[in-house]
Subunit: 658 residues, 2 copies
């Protein structure tokens, strides 16, 4: 006690071998990659499979090297936003079409309105990003300025939104494929699930690699679509395009069935507002950019908004002037009808559809960047289990990525991968978060009154008002179509987050150490007992261990058969002469109950001393052999685990290798 | 070391409190009922439910008091045999009816033939019982005289036979009920399963109580049926009974479709031979009788055969002379048709059917007495897992009873509780066992040549020949109907039994202690390490325990966050001054890999010493809180369990009760 280690001792305790470096602190060890990769025994093949799938581990210090340029940032964080131009106009049209083909002329004005809103929100978020360069998630902005209640409301809304984003994007991507290959329509759920798993794997490989994977489709879509829209607009202005003629089967659409009331227009607007949902992504991900983070993020946000607006308004203009009608069977997308109408059934159509399908599927990746980061923030603040804050071997938040994938797969199966079915779940959550974030900025400007605060206040105020109105419109007009589900789920999720934090807080209070132990204070030595079933090598090994740590270990043999008890008593003096043997006969044949009663009786003799139960355990060569062993040991361990003042030591006996 | 305990020490080690008595051996303890019944903590309600369901535990010494009188023995072991009179004739008739109503006149001759066989087998088994008063199971007789191969062949055949017995008896009992309440025919599988569970529960309560439960139905059936058959025979001899007139819908049966060849007659005989299957039961159960066991068992066997033969031949005589035809829909049994024909649709019919239903259902109980006993013999000889040899709290073989119930339920569901579907599975196994048992007796007489051996040899020889012929007839004539399944399953089960014994034998050899340890020999002291995640009460408790058993315990903190490492380093000198702290930084963020690598490095410094890993574990108040904790500890324990020379001590921390 109180020893200061000499050199030899330090060599034993801190073995500086190949597996470790010396740390910067005196006497610390730093693990090398070998400690993670070198694995023997039954799990080694799993280790190799894992390394093959997601790559070798990455050191924590490399995090900065894994940061994103603006070009990659646009690909990772804006694919969600930009890709909504592919289905946004269609979703507006599908609602308007309920009032007949004539109502479709409202598509362009609604698209224009949504674009103006996007401009407001983008300006507003540029300010948020500057104010929160370490991550401008709505959760952080709302917690910081409006209190933690608003924060977790935003968090719950966003978490749900991210899950739906994955399901919607993948469904829309698969819909773009089925437009050109109708034969796979029946398998769309299976294909969607497979794609989510692929994206999950890509993300488990780490953020920079996923940037590379996802760059190509985003830029391919931008280039191809800008070209097609430009070509179409030029031809349309020149009066060179025939109006669209719907196939005979679509007559029901042309006629419509409902009156074109305000409610229908609001619903159409709500469906289109989905296009704004991508804005939060970049703000959430500010720390993932190369420094200066906030400047790069802001610029990327502006680029994304401009590209999206151009495509969105361009497509809306074209479908309105050409008078395209949505396919009632959902087998062909409006975008594919448009491209086919402009360029025919040829090469361009295939290129456009492939690019669309890819960007849509990969738009899901935005959520894979944001959901795990948001859950790591939440876990850091004790609102989620701590695994969510743990970066895996590739610096990715493994738990969040896997959780997101599983929930999105559940949604895809539940909604049969239908875009129109999923969208009502989508928009509301995101707009609640928008409103809280900008409301938070409003309070911040007001409190701080930094230079330029009046302008900032005006911009964020306008943004907050706009998104609040949209949230109300979306929540009420889509209530029956699905936003009721979000209104139910958000409070449940909030309660869950609060319950988890309550648990951790209670626990921290209960486990905190209250007083520094005295210098001479030593814990009482444990009473050591070794239950033995028979006299074999595992039992002798356990007794030897018990004797090596205690001079008064007791072997206990509980038996329902007096004959075996006599046999053990007879051989005992030879085998374990220095160890006391207690034989407990159990005329009711139970083994665990009498052992526990014996421990209780011992405990009453020495209430302060813990009881250490040393269990001999046989480790079988094959897992199935466990069926023939260890049943009693397992039940005993479960019972002992809940007994106070009890320590269980497992002494595994490995049979010699054959 | 080498101490001789003084009085105080013995009081501590052998606390003679309420929970224990002094044992007969010096210093032994004998557990009282309290050790089994007194239970606190989360499992206490389960304990109370169990005591309510199956009763308080019974002491081992009471086994003899639980023995059976001849009257109870007949009820327990002969309900199978006697109850087959209810369906035996019908099963013969159903096969004969394939050749038309005319062929049914063969029912009586076949029944007579089967009765003669029964007489031979009964005589033969009376000798077996006398020779094996401790249990004349075919498994024991065949192992003893023909070698262990023949023994496990008999055992496998019997085990399968017992499972089928349960399914057949319960199905037949439910069929007797549906004859008078056709409305429940659709629910017969559910009802059958429920009945099996009830019988299981009754048997878990112990053998004597089940004797009492089962006495009433057996004797009710015997009395009621003897009366009805006597009444019918008298009326028939007086010429007072009209012939049976089949309803119009049964015309197909009257005509038949197949020719009445030898094969059909053999199949009819095979179906009827099911009536003999109950004979083995009493021989198996000899030790369950009050002393003198073998005399009581023999007398019971003879009674059972006489009662069965009277009913079987009587019923066959009546259905033949009255010319009853089996109901092609299986909704009414032949026996119910007979009783209705003799006594009308009234009170007697209901009484007869209820008695039949009860004895048939309870006939399953014969297997519940025999299967667990046979499996305990097999487990004692290492052919089955040892749990099968363990008598539960009520002296019943719990594992065998539960296993039998589950397998029988599987059969009932698989065969939709159809008697005719199950019977082909049934007879073959039992007759294989019969043949081996009597063949074994043959060899025994020949080897021993005790007084009277010639007579004994003749009787057992005739018995063996008879049952061998039946086994061949049954196996071949029913091959396609289901005995192929038995022919496939028996060898598979034999291989399983042999594999289990092989495993136990290998293990015993591997674990046997080869040499007596030397007097001064002491195991090397373990290297003690305490992995800690943070400085809280569980961690301090684990460190205190480690220090109480070792003067050089080392605390290890593996961290992916240099900041928390610094915080721990700073507080360490105050909190755990005498314990060495090693901080392992993990730049790849893995926690388990670096810890194992550290242990490997330590091990190389001291290859002979085991490593004791002391784990602080938090015991949550509610089970679901485990989802928020202990994930890493669980994974670590699994990995450590497979590491050689490693001992894991769990130090659970229970938060103070609120």
């Amino acid at each position: 006690m109180g020893k200061r280690p000499g050199d030899a001792y330090v060599r034993i305790v801190r073995p500086f071998e190949d597996a470790f470096h010396r740390g910067s602190e005196e006497g610390g060890l730093v693990a090398t990659e070998r400690t993670v990769l070198d694995r023997r025994g039954p799990t080694a093949p799993l280790r190799r499979l894992r390394t093959w799938l997601i790559g070798r581990p990455i050191r924590s210090e490399r995090e900065e090297h894994e940061r994103l340029t603006k070009v990659k940032g646009l690909a990772i964080f804006s694919s969600d936003n930009i890709s909504s131009s592919a289905y946004g106009p269609e979703e507006i049209m599908r609602v308007l079409a309920l009032a007949g083909a004539g109502a479709l002329s409202l598509t362009l004005p609604l698209a224009g309105l949504i674009t103006i809103m996007l401009a407001i929100v983008t300006l507003s978020y540029r300010q948020t990003i500057k104010a929160y360069p370490k991550g401008a998630s709505s959760y952080i902005v709302a917690s910081d300025n409006l209190g933690s209640g608003a924060g977790i409301l935003a968090a719950a809304a966003l978490l749900i939104g991210y899950v739906v984003t994955v399901a919607v994007s993948v469904s829309a991507g698969v819909a773009a494929m089925t437009s050109i290959i109708p034969g796979i329509y029946g398998e769309r759920v299976l294909i969607s699930v497979g794609l989510v798993l692929l994206i999950m794997l890509g993300n488990l490989r780490g953020i920079r690699e996923s940037g590379t994977i996802f760059m190509v489709p985003t830029y391919a879509y931008i280039v191809v679509m800008l070209a097609i829209v430009g070509y179409g607009v030029v031809r349309s202005v020149l009066g060179d395009v025939e109006p669209f003629v719907a196939p005979a089967g679509w007559a029901a659409v042309e006629a419509g069935g409902q009156a074109l009331g305000l409610f229908l227009v609001l619903r159409a607007f709500s469906q289109g507002a989905v296009a704004l949902t991508g804005v939060e992504a970049i703000s959430d991900g500010v720390p993932a950019f190369k420094p200066p983070e906030w400047k790069n993020a802001r610029t990327t946000l502006t680029w994304a908004a401009v590209v999206f607006a151009t495509l969105f308004v361009g497509i809306a203009y074209l479908v309105t002037t050409i008078r395209i009608i949505p396919d009632p069977s959902e087998e062909q997308t409006v975008l594919s009808l448009l491209v086919r109408h402009l360029t025919g059934d040829g090469f361009v159509l295939v290129v456009a559809q492939v690019a669309t399908a890819l960007i849509l599927v990969l738009a899901a990746n935005t959520s894979f960047a944001d959901f795990p980061r948001l859950s790591s923030f939440l876990a850091r603040d004790d609102f989620l289990p701590r695994q969510f804050a743990y970066r895996g071997e590739r610096l990715a938040f493994t738990t969040g990525i896997v959780a997101l994938s599983l929930m999105a797969i559940g949604l895809l199966i539940g909604f049969e991968a239908s875009v129109s079915g999923l969208i009502p779940l989508y928009t509301l959550g995101v707009f609640i978060a928008f409103t809280l974030s900008q409301g938070g900025m409003l309070v911040r400007w007001w409190r701080r009154r930094e230079p330029g605060w009046r302008m900032g206040l005006a911009i964020n105020g306008l943004g907050a008002l706009t998104t609040l109105v949209v949230a109300l419109v979306v929540g009420s007009s889509n209530f029956l179509q699905g936003s009721w589900l979000v209104i139910v789920l958000v409070p449940i999720l909030m309660l869950l987050l609060l319950a988890i934090r309550g648990h951790y807080r209670d626990l921290d209070a209960a486990l905190a150490v209250e007083r520094v132990p005295e210098a001479g204070e030593v814990a009482p030595k444990p009473i050591v007992i070794v239950p033995i079933a028979r006299l074999d090598r595992p039992a002798l090994q356990a007794i030897a261990f018990a004797n090596s740590i205690s001079s008064e270990a007791v072997a206990v043999h509980v038996t329902n058969d007096p004959d075996t008890a006599d046999a053990i008593r007879e051989r005992w003096p030879d085998w374990a002469r220095s160890t006391e043997l207690v034989v407990v006969e159990s005329p009711y044949r139970a083994l665990i109950g009498p052992l526990l009663a014996y421990m209780d009786a011992l405990q009453r003799q020495a209430p302060d001393r813990p009881i250490l139960v040393v269990l001999a355990e046989f480790v079988p060569r094959h897992w199935w052999e466990n069926l023939l062993h260890n049943q009693t040991a397992l039940r005993l361990k479960l019972r002992l685990f809940s007994r106070r003042n009890t320590i269980v030591a497992d002494v595994p006996y490995h049979p010699p290798r054959a």
